[in-house]
Symmetry: C2
Subunit: 248 residues, 2 copies
Amino acid sequence: MAKKTPTLSNPNVSVDCVVFGFDGSDLKVLLVERYRRDNLDFQDDTLVLPGDLINNNEDLNEAASRILYDLTGLTKIFLQQIGAFGSPKRLSKPKDIAWLEAVRMNPEARVITIGYYALINIKNYKVRPSSFAKHVVWRGYDEVGELGFDHNDILEKAIHDLRGQLYREPIGFELLPNQFSLHQLYSLYNEIMGGGIDRRNFRRRILKTGFLKETEEYQEGVPHKPARLYTLIPEEFEHASKNNFKFY
Amino acid sequence: MAKKTPTLSNPNVSVDCVVFGFDGSDLKVLLVERYRRDNLDFQDDTLVLPGDLINNNEDLNEAASRILYDLTGLTKIFLQQIGAFGSPKRLSKPKDIAWLEAVRMNPEARVITIGYYALINIKNYKVRPSSFAKHVVWRGYDEVGELGFDHNDILEKAIHDLRGQLYREPIGFELLPNQFSLHQLYSLYNEIMGGGIDRRNFRRRILKTGFLKETEEYQEGVPHKPARLYTLIPEEFEHASKNNFKFY
DNA sequence: AAACTTAGTGTAAAAATTACACTTTGAAAA
DNA sequence: TTTTCAAAGTGTAATTTTTACACTAAGTTT
């Protein structure tokens, strides 16, 4: 049996990323059409989370960063590990098997995957002229249908952890532009949490935390009273992130 | 190169368990002396968390359960995954390398490990007459020194997650006998949280949750007023576990 | 019988949370 | 230029939750 050229990638461990974006009103997830590395025309029109086998010399977070860089061209993305998914049956749907056989060197290998979620500002994202590019799609969180592999499980865990973390750490700003209105921030929280947050109380609370600074800038081009824009004060933000701070 | 007999275990993925126990006043962790599977006299007197490579046909939780069963003889242990640890350098201390070379089929293999924590009632645990037995030791959480591999990182993440979970889910009863006094429960919470909980307020709050039922039993053999014993009401407990309940 | 140890109970003050409605501002339409 | 529209922005009272804190009760040991 001719030995294939050695690869750096580890056949047993992959990383999959749930990339959340926010367009001002809806929480979105970045999905890719399953494709074939050496034949971009091959596809089985199944949507999956972006992911890849890890390389043997690379840390798990590095692998996730690499995947996100390939996908978006962005570096320094907010990343959070959500755990390992390792059911022996996680790759056993017929279409999944067919895809693995078409693409992987060891299609029968046991693969456990490490899930991550990432938060990115959707405006910073541009389709890259990379191999991924034409297969990428944003989907509203509520419109994500059945994904390949066990990726619906990973997505579910991601939203669960995101919600939990949003409650007690001041994350979520990664999803917004550098300057944002309180309404944008409110919409973000309200959307991720599934609604029900009082607008006025939210405003009071978030200002009381002290990690927002008002700027002298205002919204432009809106057909109503323009809202003041705010920025994050990084030091206060960091401080609040420790000391098991509870925001909401 | 002669091929070794095929093994079921996957060379790239392991599971390590932080086993917490409670003796009534101190939080303890179960550690094992690093040993050699085929030569129990071999040991390098380094303490590590109990763990093992996973088998290819086994789920991650199953692997953790298997390890805990081998170690304690207990089944149905409360288990919580805390995530994957995958630094390429995690097995690179000289002593770690020496041990791997003595024990593993592929000592140079990249191994990522999935961490778990487990809660067990220390009274139910008896040293098993197994290969593990003579290498097992309970250590007070505060007295755990330097462990092999990256196991101090895993321990740290475990206590962090345990504390977080204790705040918002009614776990921790696994560490106590079936019937327990409120003082025992209080001590447990106070110890895990690192102190500072008001005894009277704790009592009021935990009773208000409604998942404790008072029994007609009392402590015996204590040199003071005996405390009433309580049990958990499983249904209420389950109900509270969902609905992102916040206890403390 | 006295001393000791832990069990068990209540309340008042402070802080946090909730619910809720009207005025302001700028752009667009009439 | 006036009117309309849409979102920005602001305050308070009632309720609930949290906190801090000290004494009495009951059983065992001396």
